[in-house]
């Protein structure tokens, strides 16, 4: 096999071409269409409130919500920070714990048979139903919220990673066995990289769920005072009929959820874009 010979008829590993013509237009439209849609919806909202003279304690106009957002920012930003802290702490512990337990389960069929049922029980019991008990056992309300958010976020990471670890290509496993790979080599060089796409799906689900669970747990805890998160501010606004502030808090929650979704999707894209089918643009 001399070097000068042309190899097969394959395309070489060409660098992706810069976007041109229709690709470019599509990329611009991908940004413009969602923004235009948002502007249209806000305009419709505004028109409805003005045209039907809706009182602001039923449905505030968009500008009133914006005003509330600015005026109440000190309160809201503090609450947002508390919610974010619980969400990300829970997500971080869920990622580490989920992966570690998945690796443990993948080591032996018997460990899996012994432990998996309890993982499922944790997952299927509604978090609102366990929250009161956790509030009794946990030393502080904050740690109770953290535990609740963790329980919810941890399962998708665990179940996806476990599935990924078990789905390793059998031929590659044979290859590693053939070359006398140790257990650790097989784990780090083969099983974990092979499970990465599955783990990343778990991460995307867990990111969203961690935020939801942090909010739900705070509702269940009914905590109040200076150290409380967005959930409490929403309840408080409801009691006081401060609907503009309720909307502002809700918008912050939505924005956080969307930001988490984009961040996890970006991480996923960056890690998979070089090799995984899901990240490759299909062209026929």
């Amino acid at each position: 096999m001399s070097a000068a010979e042309p190899v097969d008829t394959a395309v070489p590993a060409a660098a992706p071409r810069p976007p041109s013509g229709p690709r470019m237009t599509e990329q611009v439209l991908r940004v413009i269409v969602p923004i235009a849609m948002l502007v249209a919806l806000v305009a419709l909202w505004h028109w409805y409130v003005v045209a039907y003279n809706v009182p602001h304690y039923i449905l505030p106009a968009p500008e009133r919500v914006a005003q509330a957002m600015i005026e109440d920012w000190p309160t809201l930003s503090g609450a947002l920070f508390v919610t974010l802290k619980i969400t990300f702490a829970a997500l971080a512990i869920a990622l580490v714990g989920g992966v570690l337990i998945a690796v443990l389960l993948a080591q032996s069929k018997w460990i899996e048979i012994a432990l998996y049922p309890y993982m499922v029980i944790l997952q299927v019991t509604p978090i609102v139903a366990i929250a009161p008990l956790i509030l009794i056992y946990a030393p502080t309300t904050q740690s109770a919220l953290l535990i609740c958010a963790w329980i919810v976020a941890f399962f998708p990471v665990l179940s996806n990673t476990t599935q990924g670890l078990k789905s390793t290509d059998h031929n590659l496993l044979n290859l590693f066995e053939l070359y006398g790979a140790s257990r650790w080599q097989t784990l780090f060089l083969l099983k974990l990289p092979a499970a990465l796409p599955y783990f990343l799906v778990g991460l995307r689900i867990a990111g969203g769920l961690a935020l939801i669970a942090a909010v739900v747990a705070e509702f269940a805890a009914g905590s109040a005072g200076a150290g409380s998160g967005l959930a409490f501010r929403i309840l408080e606004s409801q009691y006081r009929l401060n609907i503009p502030r309720l909307f502002a808090a809700l918008i912050l929650l939505c924005a956080t959820g969307v930001a988490i979704f984009f961040a996890t999707s970006l991480v996923s894209h960056l890690l998979l874009r070089k090799w995984h089918e899901s990240a490759i643009r299909r062209e026929n």
Binding site: M1, D169, L178, G180, Q185, W275, H276
Partner: protein
């Protein structure tokens, strides 16, 4: 070079299967009393219908799964501290079996890496292996950027990077198109001539086996057993002239008849 005309293959065998039988847990008898000598330097093909246990035999030699009874002997191998023979084998699967997340370089480095060879120390050997298969320019490419034939070349480079004495190939070109397959057959023969390793090649193609082999062992199924052993006494290099010669046609007829007998012996497909 005519390794087929070895007078006493026992003295020269690199691996020997002695009364090997394999029964799977579901009761299928994959192999029954298989005796096989692979002589050093020969190109031996195992040819037979599906289910004749040719791949199973190859896997047993590779150490993937123990035989139910019988033994695998390595007369020439060194024995390591744990008493296991250091078989010095390379294995090429039917699929390229590359790690999709790793570049060509990392894929070829793998066998050395598993033995503790660092990236820097492996660089030259990986480059040499890639040059052997004509892919030295593709070391940074990912498997998905390569064609089927190129992926198979990477797989061959990976098998050769440890400089094995015995190359085990399990229907490596079966999934490739005819043109690519012909090219890879020619290239494999060049490497075989150049480096002098022994090849044990599993195939179900009569034409491929006659083109490549110095000896063909024909197997029948249910239970897997050897029914014929044919030496192909034609000199290497075997180029296009050989593939269009009357001698080639004659051998193909001979092997084909034997394969028909093997299928007849199974009597259901």
């Amino acid at each position: 070079m005519s390794p087929a005309s070895a007078p006493s293959p026992r003295d020269r065998s690199i691996v020997r299967l002695e009364h090997v039988a394999k029964t799977f847990s579901n009761g299928t008898v994959a192999l029954a009393d298989l005796n096989l000598d692979v002589a050093e330097g020969e190109f031996l093909s195992l040819l037979g219908p599906s289910g004749c246990g040719k791949s199973t035999a190859l896997r047993i030699i590779a150490g993937l799964g123990e035989p139910t009874s019988g033994a695998v002997a390595w007369p020439k191998a060194m024995y390591d501290a744990s008493g296991k023979p250091e078989a010095e084998i390379g294995f090429v699967f039917q699929e390229p079996t590359l790690m999709p997340w790793a570049t060509v370089f990392h894929n070829v480095w793998l066998p050395l890496r598993l033995k503790g060879v660092s990236k820097a120390a492996a660089r030259t050997r990986v480059a040499e292996a890639l040059e052997m298969v004509g892919l030295e320019k593709f070391s940074a490419a990912y498997p998905r950027e390569l064609s089927g034939g190129m992926k198979m070349r990477v797989s061959i480079a990976r098998a050769l990077v440890t400089r094995p004495r015995l190359l085990l190939m399990d229907e490596p070109f079966a999934a490739l198109d005819e043109i690519t397959r012909q090219k890879l057959n020619d290239d494999l023969l060049k490497l075989y001539k150049q480096f002098g390793f022994t090849v044990l090649f599993v195939t179900h193609s009569v034409f491929e086996s006659v083109h490549l082999s110095s000896r063909i062992v024909v197997m029948a199924a249910r239970p897997g057993r050897v029914i014929d052993d044919i030496a192909i006494e034609a000199p290497y290099p075997r180029d296009r002239a050989f593939r269009t010669s009357p001698l080639y046609a004659e051998y193909c007829r001979r092997v084909s008849d034997s394969l028909v007998a093997a299928i007849g012996a199974t009597d259901h497909l």
